[in-house]
């Protein structure tokens, strides 16, 4: 199933209900006005919908996505001061150098903390509850990602490894944390 279908499935019901409600309101009173269920207060139901999808420039760090799709996770390193950046960036804003070197990350580290998201944002509703963790890698940098383990197996301080995976059902490459057995 592609993104279009997922979005349709996810929003169709909410959107359809809202549109039907506006139609009904206007039909009944000639105005898109309803009463709040809890307070009985009068509310104007906006007839103009705003949906937004951002276009985010990633050209300067495209190498990260290129390597990710080949199963590797990289950071960037400043050739002058040696600072390692993750998430990767192409500018060392400490010593004002650009065009940083690429370094492959070990992907191995220790889980610093985690949470289990049970009340999800609307655009994540189609996933099961997920665990978000932050791990400190051997290189001394932190990485935030889903921890793909059962909640009862997740502990602060456990050894973890970054794993490249496809995010389903959308089917794009991303990374996750897995427990090192």
């Amino acid at each position: 199933m592609g993104v279009t279908e997922i979005k349709e499935r996810q929003f169709n019901e909410i959107d359809k209900k809202a549109l039907e409600q506006i139609d009904l309101l206007i039909k009944n009173s000639g105005m898109p006005i309803m009463r709040d269920l809890k307070t009985n207060n009068l509310l104007w139901v906006d007839v103009r919908e705003l949906t937004q999808r951002f276009m985010i420039p990633i050209g300067r760090i495209y190498k990260f996505f290129d390597q990710l799709s080949k199963g590797k996770i990289i950071g960037t390193k400043c050739p002058k001061c040696g600072s390692i950046y993750f998430p990767p960036q192409d500018d060392c804003t400490k010593c004002k150098v650009s065009g940083l070197d690429v370094i492959e990350l070990s992907g191995e580290g220790e889980l610093l903390t985690y949470t289990i998201i049970t009340v999800k944002p609307v655009s994540f509703m189609h996933y099961q509850d997920y665990i978000v963790g932050i791990a400190r890698l051997k290189e001394g940098i932190n990485i935030l990602a889903w921890v793909n383990e059962k909640p009862e197996d997740v502990k602060v301080g456990m050894k973890v490894k970054v794993n490249i995976t496809k995010r389903e059902p959308e089917g794009y490459f991303t990374y996750e944390l897995r427990k090192i057995q």
């Binding site: 049970t118 009340v119 609307v122 994540f124």
Partner: protein
């Protein structure tokens, strides 16, 4: 430099305010502040609107509010510092007066989050970290960010869920005496423990609600303040700092670095000793968007040693009569957290406390004549710490 004082305060009822729109809500606070100070709109040199925005339909909120409140054509801007927006707005007015650019300035904090459906509000708050690296792929929610701090602290310092519960119980207790608070019902530990998990280990009762509300303060220069009132509340000092957008770029997950640094700045200016800071204040308003945030605030303000904030809660030392009363107006937890209004609401609470005008059941004993607000934006993205005093700062 000119000393600056609060000469008028205004506060709307916080809650699900679908009975008014954003500008009508702001007017409730503006009108109260004008009446309290005996001033008229024509006396105000400039007004600053704290409104994080995005939830409500009007995007140029400062103008819409200015028009409705009859403040135009005075100069204005909308200020944003996430959940510390209100304190940032206060800073602009404070600095304008200090610089001699205005004699009387009004700060209006207003937010109407209920204009957006709850699901959209959850999404919008989650997007308020580093959007691309934290939200796009990993869908952190706002409780999720703070839950990462709570998990770390439980593992490292042996903090228990019940310690977080103590914060919720205290703030709901005081909220029950505050007619402006969104929640006016006290809660018990078993209700807290049974409440639904939103982002493990945080539960519904660890989280502040989605709220509509407005607050206003009028600031004046020393020269003008003395003519307007015989009970000015002076802005003694303010510290402000910023943190990283990426939560993963923080060093450890036991403290809000920006808040600690802002505190140090404010204390240095007011000549307050960090180790004994609690001895200087009669009351504190700290940013308890989640119970864990209040625990960290105790330490970042120097009220407790690092790793011992939850013990202060466990020993009930932050009730009135304890070591230092904190959030005795109910805090964000019970009073509510209308993002842009919160920092201004904190200033109103402290000013009214120092003047013995707090609501029955919430008034502290004023011995030192000083109070403090600690207002964090995002998950430690912004931090504003402001000290208020009955004594003129340069005296």
């Amino acid at each position: 430099m000119v000393d600056v004082a609060i000469v008028g305060t205004g506060h709307s009822k916080f809650g699900n305010r679908t009975d008014v729109n954003l500008q009508e809500l702001a007017w409730e606070a503006v009108k109260q502040a004008l009446e309290e100070s005996n001033l008229d709109q024509k006396d105000i040199d400039m007004f600053v609107v704290g409104n994080a925005g995005g939830w409500s339909s009007e995007s140029l909120s400062a103008i819409v509010i200015g028009e409705y409140c009859n403040l135009a054509p005075k100069g204005t801007m909308r200020v944003e510092a996430a959940c510390a927006t209100g304190s940032a707005a206060l800073r602009i007015a404070y600095q304008a007066i200090k610089a001699g650019d205005a004699k009387i300035a009004m700060v209006i904090g207003a937010e109407q989050m209920h204009q957006s459906p709850n699901l959209v509000a959850v999404e919008m708050m989650g997007r308020a970290g580093n959007y691309f690296w934290e939200f796009e792929n990993f869908g952190l929610t706002f409780p999720g960010y703070y839950a990462l701090y709570a998990t770390r602290r439980m593992a490292k310092f042996g903090m228990k869920e019940e310690d977080l519960g103590e914060i919720a119980i205290k703030n709901h207790y005081y909220g029950s005496f505050n007619p402006y608070a969104m929640f006016q019902k006290q809660i018990k530990m078993d209700e807290y423990m049974k409440s639904r998990v939103v982002a493990y280990p945080l539960k519904v009762y660890d989280a502040c609600p989605i709220t509509d509300g407005a607050a206003a303060v009028i600031l004046a220069s020393e020269e003008v303040a003395k003519k307007i009132t015989d009970s000015p509340v002076w802005v003694a000092s303010q510290g402000f700092k910023s943190g990283t957008a990426n939560l993963s770029k923080r060093d450890d997950f036991i403290s809000i670095d920006a808040a600690r640094l802002a505190t140090e700045e404010a204390y240095k200016k007011a000549k307050i000793d960090f180790e004994n800071s609690w001895r200087y204040f009669d009351v504190a308003e700290v940013h308890d968007c989640f119970t864990i945030a209040e625990i960290m605030a105790y330490e970042d303000l120097g009220f407790a040693k690092r790793g011992e904030g939850h013990l202060l809660a466990r020993e009930e030392q932050t009730y009135i009569g304890g070591k230092i009363p904190v959030n005795v107006d109910g805090g964000l937890k019970a009073k509510g957290h209308p993002i842009g209004a919160t920092g201004v609401s904190m200033a109103v609470s402290i000013a009214r406390q120092l003047l013995y005008r707090a609501h029955k059941g919430t008034q502290v004993e004023v011995k030192n004549g000083m109070g403090i607000t600690h207002n964090v934006g995002g998950t430690g993205h912004y931090a504003y710490v402001t000290i208020f005093s009955l004594k003129k700062p340069s005296a």
